[in-house]
Symmetry: C2
Subunit: 640 residues, 2 copies
């Protein structure tokens, strides 16, 4: 932990903090008993790693890491401080958010609709125009040169086949695209080198292409599709059709390959079929060959996107057999190894990426790329790394975290009598993903491991039939793992990343030229209104545009009048220019509420089909006179 | 803190825990330096209150209290463990929840619609039938004999004039009603004695009655309405029309009176008007007189509800003048005093409820009920109690918590030279509500105070323009308040209650006869389906009812077929009977997802207007083969 006045030493121990804690304990235990212990002697003795590597961040102290947490079916992105494990903020993405107006403001609806396929927009017409739910599994940051660059986060929506981008300068989603041809995006990872670049996204489920009802119960005509999205433009660069299905994926540190696990090489449509084979595979994508293939036109254009054929026998892919139903796919920070997690096999398979060129030029066989395959325990799902050659694998069925060493595993695979397993730690219970601090980058620092456990059962006071997940924080600075905190979370984070705080540098107030409200600026220009200062009601037939500003504790308009049936757009510009001075704009009994943070503009459009006096008010507690920050929308009945 | 194997001593100190911590520190500081301190000497010395009253609940240890937290404009209810300040679960109430399907399942839509007024149901027809947002300020538990009874929580929605009830046996909302005649429900408190009984709800804003557009910009014709809801039936018992407006309220410990603050005695419609008077008031409601008035028919029936006239001169109310713009209204656990918080006045006013009978019989003047009016500092908003005669008042403008003593304040008011202020503590920053453990009951235990601060600014790593609130946990067991934890929260808890864990005893699995899915049972009966066991597709014209069950990791149906345009209802019954084994049901690219907890039934109805193969899957990570827990909805095109 660090604060604004003291430095954190290299081993993560804040010396000022340590003195503080020793002093507290001296008082606590009674001064008389403490003559043998002073702050000075404590500091000159052995470093107090065990006591100091704690989740207990004191009041006013700051976390060392940003945790970016997915929320699964909650559909949002969460920011969690690490190691405090305190949830700091939610970023609505695929969900409808009551607090921010996400899904209601014109700005958010543009983001939620403009990247959808035309047929989906048509489908949503009778459903309010947007999806109100999502299933956000895998949040990952944009990379430059093998490490996080602080620009963007990307995340998948399995429920409605979408990929979203979140701007880290303002911590808001700015792009959501629906992926054509693919179904039910699961695994997602950004290109690590030279930069992101591509965002790779796995269509998990096999469906017909096109999925228009012309093919129904003919599973042999279904396909799975791998997608490379251009992370800068948020458009699909290319797709590859594969055999089997696609689960999790990762990209290498060289910018040459990506790979995805397949748990359904059988191409089955029920549990028995999907489990029938003893082996499934990892499919490897050769990025340079694919780019060349796109260049020379070796693809079909389906729904506007180049789709290459990457099924077996294709030059673009190789299929590496892996024991039964592999799940997690994790590139090690050594830049050389991928760990493929066996799920129904107690093993993980280690692939050496330097052997992939020989595989693609058919000099070696697929299994020749495997350099280790240690047996770790039951249900290995995901592996994280400490940057010191060690791996941490979640064992779902054993409810354990298993620490093991890659080099030792390779030596064991080569016949040496060496046990790669270093330590096992019980977790509570059934871990899915895990993640280490900076662990998916070349700057993996080996300080913290988070185990995202799917069951918490008796670990917290009972919350009824629906219980929290349990994200456990584990100190991995020593030889043995040490559990330091149980962290409950609402349904249901699948994955997280843990990013050094210095990499993320958001603004505290918006800048007035932000593209988020570009359309509001255009409307204001057309209407001859200065969006940054003026209050005005513009009538345009039965369309009414209301421009107002806010400065705590007043909106610039005490009231405005419209007629029943008018289409009303209210633009609110928050002129307060102070950190944390967010206003809100709610219209009572109209179902309308939106966030307007400092120096932002937000707008909402609705039909004023309910006559009467309707108070609008600021729902963000902004001032001692916050309750008085309100005004009236007067809706005259049509007949009057 | 406590765990399952050790008892917590009366002063909240877990002795086993204390030994554990001492031992850790002994190791940390180096054994050599620690010869003077053993666990034994520490335990026999002075109790280590300062070190032990901490928010740091170790892995596997349990919180002592349930915190029920409002979420303001997020519209949900949150359960937070205290003192760990960990958010355990969210209960969707007024919001649309992507994770649980709240707002989408038939069960939740029934709750969200059946208590609305007919005109609101009409209004919502073009908006998907429900409000997607809410502004939940004040969560309070049902009482029996002056303390919490663990049955229900009640909470207001200021945004859409609703009151909700949450069942604490399953931690789900079961009733939401829209309050007629009133506008924008703010303050809400349950009757404390003999039981709840009534739930009192303040219509904050003045509007015309009826508010149908026949009166618009004529503020002199607006009214404010106080409502008593029957908490058992969730129907309006009666309403009282008042002068001024209604902000916060509370009920006494005798079952005789309720009272509400008014910050707008001016009946103004803009800031200048609302602030113009030097005095506003508290309006006191005489419950027995009102009940007698209802009995004898002294009311108008408006929108089906008896509305009594409680404006000045009425037998039902008394108006007690209070310095400028009072806000919080808090009944002390001594059963005798109410504290009214001055907001724009630096004072709080203490009312003696034993003087209210004389006030109502006109033997004394309104201000004669005031027994103390200490000046505490700038911006007093709310007061909490420790059960030892002390009060803790938030000072919004001073960003402080002020501890003061009622008896001393009364003595000072009577002319004695005594300072009622005991301690002031800086909080970070701008506190609104606060709350103490059990503090609004006769069992106030004086252990913890939470200060709900509206600005967090620099207290956490920067999350961009939208920042968390800061709920600070303060140890109040000593003479001085002691800050022990900063707790970030997403927008924007207004209030909370802190309830001893033994009072709340939810189920871990549903019982099959729960009323939540009564309609599903009726449908199954009509269709001749055993809801608890059978899988069946029932066709009824273009209506299709699909009954399926789930047992990890399979749904009972591998597939079902419908035709484009069919109205499909899917009922999923989760037959797993194990703690924490919640399934989900998502239909891909259909915007459908719902929670189905252990032994529950959930259902969703939709038009299958998108042909093709659509996978449904379990979005709750339930099993090692969770990814394989899926099936297909085959939607044949109309023309086929």
């Amino acid at each position: 932990m660090k604060d604004k006045t003291s430095n954190t030493s290299d081993n993560g121990i804040d010396r000022r903090k340590f003195i503080g804690r020793s002093a507290t304990l001296a008082t606590a235990a009674g001064a008389g008993a403490m003559t043998g212990l002073t702050a000075g002697t404590a500091l000159t003795s052995k470093p107090a790693q065990a006591a100091e590597n704690t989740a207990n961040i004191g009041p006013g102290d700051l976390d060392d890491y940003y945790g970016f947490w997915s929320s699964g079916q909650s559909g949002e992105l969460r920011i969690v401080g690490v190691p405090s494990m305190r949830e700091l903020i939610r970023i609505p993405v695929f969900n409808r958010c009551s607090a921010t107006g996400w899904g209601q403001t014109n700005e958010s609806r543009k983001i939620l609709t403009e990247g959808l396929l035309p047929e989906t927009r048509e489908f949503l017409k009778t459903r309010g125009g947007i999806f109100l739910n999502g299933d956000l599994h895998h949040p990952h940051m944009s990379f430059t040169d093998g490490t996080y660059d602080g620009r963007y986060l990307f995340a998948n929506d399995k429920a409605n086949t979408r990929v979203a981008r979140i701007r880290l300068d303002v911590m808001k989603c700015d792009k959501i695209i629906e992926i054509p041809n693919a179904a039910d995006i699961h695994g997602l990872r950004p290109q690590k080198f030279p930069r992101t670049g591509y965002v790779f996204a796995n269509g998990e489920h096999r469906v017909p292409t096109p999925n228009d009802g012309s093919v129904l119960d003919e599973p042999e005509k279904y396909h799975a599709i791998f997608t490379a999205i251009d992370g800068d433009s948020m458009t699909v660069a290319w797709q590859v059709m594969v055999d089997g299905n696609l689960d999790n994926c990762d990209a290498d540190y060289q910018g040459l390959y990506a790979m995805s696990t397949c748990y359904n090489s059988e191409e089955g449509v029920n549990l028995a079929q999907m489990m029938s084979s003893e082996q499934d595979w990892v499919v490897v994508f050769d990025l340079k060959r694919i780019e060349a293939g796109v260049k020379k036109g070796d693809f079909k254009t389906i729904k506007g996107v180049p789709v290459l054929d990457g099924r077996k026998g294709s030059p673009y892919t190789r299929y590496i057999p892996i024991p039964n139903s592999p799940h997690g796919c994790n590139a090690a920070p050594d830049g050389k190894h991928f760990v493929i997690n066996g799920k129904l096999s107690p093993t993980v398979s280690v692939i050496d990426v330097t052997r992939l060129p020989d595989l693609f030029s058919d000099k070696i066989k697929p299994r020749d790329t495997i350099v280790a395959e240690p047996e770790l325990g039951l249900g290995p799902l995901h592996t994280a790394f400490d940057g010191r050659g060690n791996c941490y694998t979640t064992l779902f069925l054993d409810s354990q975290s298993c620490k093991w060493n890659i080099d030792k595993a390779i030596r064991a695979y080569n016949g040496e009598k060496v046990d790669p397993i270093i330590d096992k730690l019980d977790v509570q219970y059934q871990p899915g993903h895990n993640h280490t601090s900076m662990g998916e980058t070349k700057e993996a620092d080996g300080k913290w491991l988070v185990s995202l456990n799917k069951f918490s059962k008796d670990r917290f006071i009972n919350t009824g039939p629906l219980k929290p997940e349990n994200e456990q924080l584990i100190d991995i600075t020593g030889e043995k793992m040490k559990l330091v905190h149980d962290g409950p979370t609402f349904a249901e984070p699948h994955d997280c990343i843990i990013v050094r705080a210095d990499i993320v540098n958001p603004k505290s107030v918006w800048t007035r030229d932000d593209p988020m409200w570009a359309e509001a600026r255009e409307w204001a220009k057309k209407d001859g209104v200065n969006l940054d200062a003026e209050s005005k009601v513009v009538r345009d037939g039965n369309k009414v545009r209301v421009y107002m500003t806010s400065v705590a504790p007043v909106f610039s308009m005490e009231k405005f009048s419209v007629t029943e049936g008018d289409e009303v757009t209210v633009f609110v510009t928050n002129l307060d220019n102070i950190d944390d001075l967010t206003h809100g704009f709610t219209i009572a009994i109209y179902g309308i509420a939106m966030e307007v943070a400092a120096q932002a503009t937000a707008s909402v459009t609705f039909i004023a089909d309910r006559p009467g006096v309707h108070w609008f008010y600021c729902q963000g507690f902004c001032h001692a006179l916050h309750m008085e920050m309100r005004g009236r929308m007067l809706v005259a009945p049509k007949s009057v």
